[in-house]
Symmetry: C2
Subunit: 352 residues, 2 copies
Amino acid sequence: MPRRSSRKAAGKLPDIRAVAAAARVSIATVSRTVNGSPPVSDRLKKRVWQAIKQLNYLPNTHARTLVSGRSRLLGIIVENITNPFFPELIRSFEEIAVAHGYEILVSSTNSDPAVLATCARRMLERKVDGVAVMTFGEEEPVLDQIVHGGIPIVLAEFKLDDPKASTILLDYSTGIHAAIRHLTGLGHRAIGFLAGPHSLHSAITRENDFRSAIAAAGLPLQKKWVIECDHTLKGGVAGFEQLRKLGNRPTAIVCSNDMTAIGVLRAAYAAGLRVPEDLSVVGLDDIDFAAYTLPPLTTIRLSRVELARAAFEALHTQAEDPESPKRKREFLVSTSLVVRGSTAPPPATHPS
Amino acid sequence: MPRRSSRKAAGKLPDIRAVAAAARVSIATVSRTVNGSPPVSDRLKKRVWQAIKQLNYLPNTHARTLVSGRSRLLGIIVENITNPFFPELIRSFEEIAVAHGYEILVSSTNSDPAVLATCARRMLERKVDGVAVMTFGEEEPVLDQIVHGGIPIVLAEFKLDDPKASTILLDYSTGIHAAIRHLTGLGHRAIGFLAGPHSLHSAITRENDFRSAIAAAGLPLQKKWVIECDHTLKGGVAGFEQLRKLGNRPTAIVCSNDMTAIGVLRAAYAAGLRVPEDLSVVGLDDIDFAAYTLPPLTTIRLSRVELARAAFEALHTQAEDPESPKRKREFLVSTSLVVRGSTAPPPATHPS
DNA sequence: GTGAAAGCGCTAACAA
DNA sequence: TTGTTAGCGCTTTCAC
């Protein structure tokens, strides 16, 4: 086995001492070189890098973390990894994090507070440098744990009164108002809303924004046209069924998220209704899939990239520069309407 | 601030020494208690747990890893997290891992060997206890690095000649043969195949299995009906377009994965063709979404749960019990046909 | 059963 | 500029 690693006792990975020995310098010099800490001469630097390459040395992050107190690990806790919105968010977050030399730890709570507690514990044990809590729910009590662990935290739609906490505000209003204007412009006056579970802040905010947009459009709000669903595809199917059972159903439906809207598409098809000719449907999120439903979904885009970027920035600046007084504590991510094929003028015949 | 943590100097998290002091025992006893190592009397055990609870103590995993050499961290490298198959796989893998007290590190290579190399390096630095490589591609050279790092590894569809390596074999053949039998049973004789990128082992295996299934059915293979796509939805759209340009197109199309099949559904709709009346479509994977396409997709199921379970088992047994001679080195995950709405008898009129 | 003490591999003071 | 050394928080011999 003519491998470079055969020089040392087999089975043992090279450590900083091995590198120091090979480069004939002290371990401090190796450490400095690896970390780019200033005072190292080019001559030694070169010798060290050569030894590192030769031995195939990789620094042990655990040892590093132990002494430096920084793990370069970031946690992200999402509500439900089954909803495509979240993998997309995680992916953006990971890309940014890895580009900055961080690793990420992912957890999905499935909206279960007990699971959230476990997640928080796991993050604390692994000494993450920050946690992004993207659950959009009722989380205050458990989060306490993280905050008291002294770890930077960033939340979506939730303010925590702690210097280590930041908040990302989601401006659903802009997108939802645009959607309603789009619909009324098309001639719709009967507009329903399939809401998310009321246990989520975001769901309530979205519903409220819908109500105010309807009011702003001068439309009366039909109470039974606002139905609480659960942000899943199945929930959307069920919600639409409920709406259909009503004597008069709306000609357009706005949904609290895309999965719900896709459920409506599905249920409408099963009921023999054509979208958008017989029924207009609007989603919210603009998951990747939305462009490929049949018909392509008109939806309110909530950029995962922006959200991930804001979350990372909040954590990163807090971790790097905790004292900075000018550190941003609040971030705003906006929404916008994407018009595709699931909306059209209402049928000419009066709706029943 | 009447918090339990106020007893110690603020700002500092309780460590094992603090617990030992509070329980009036040595740190060794605390360690033994936490780890469930045998010789600790119930009396002391109780005192220790009480102190732990009281101080809200969490062991530092990095310190633990440093001394024990085990990180309880498992890596999973996937080909493309954008394909819903992979988030679903990751999720299963995570569930199993967390249930066993492991944490996971996720990486997506996007089929780029350079990224794979980076991933491998990241995993090595974090001292993972094992890596599941679910890229289904050409990876031998880089993987060397992991193997030489002495870390257990499990690959999909790829055998590595190393005692630390295991393999998961995918039995596509069963499912694909079942699909062809289903199609011929329906009356189809003109069957096309939209393959995956030839850079992936799995894509080639799937294509070969298709060819042999066609032969087994006694059908002639139309060469131009086998088209290389790229396992994406867009690729499926393009592949179908190509097929449609042919004078005579097949009455049924089997796709190398579900995303491709969904692309075909989409493209067929755009072309004014009805599925399954005018065209039958079969996918492969059975991603969660497949049940909700319009129409629901008939597909060959490749269980993510089984795959994840096999991957975890391979890594876990190898990590826990490396010497065991009876350790399984090969795992088999099978496939099966799920008949839904995208397949039906071919149109009565002869295909052009 | 329990405790004292020796490190795991590394960074950061402090000296030189 | 470089080297020496003292831990980071924990597990694990080894004595008691």
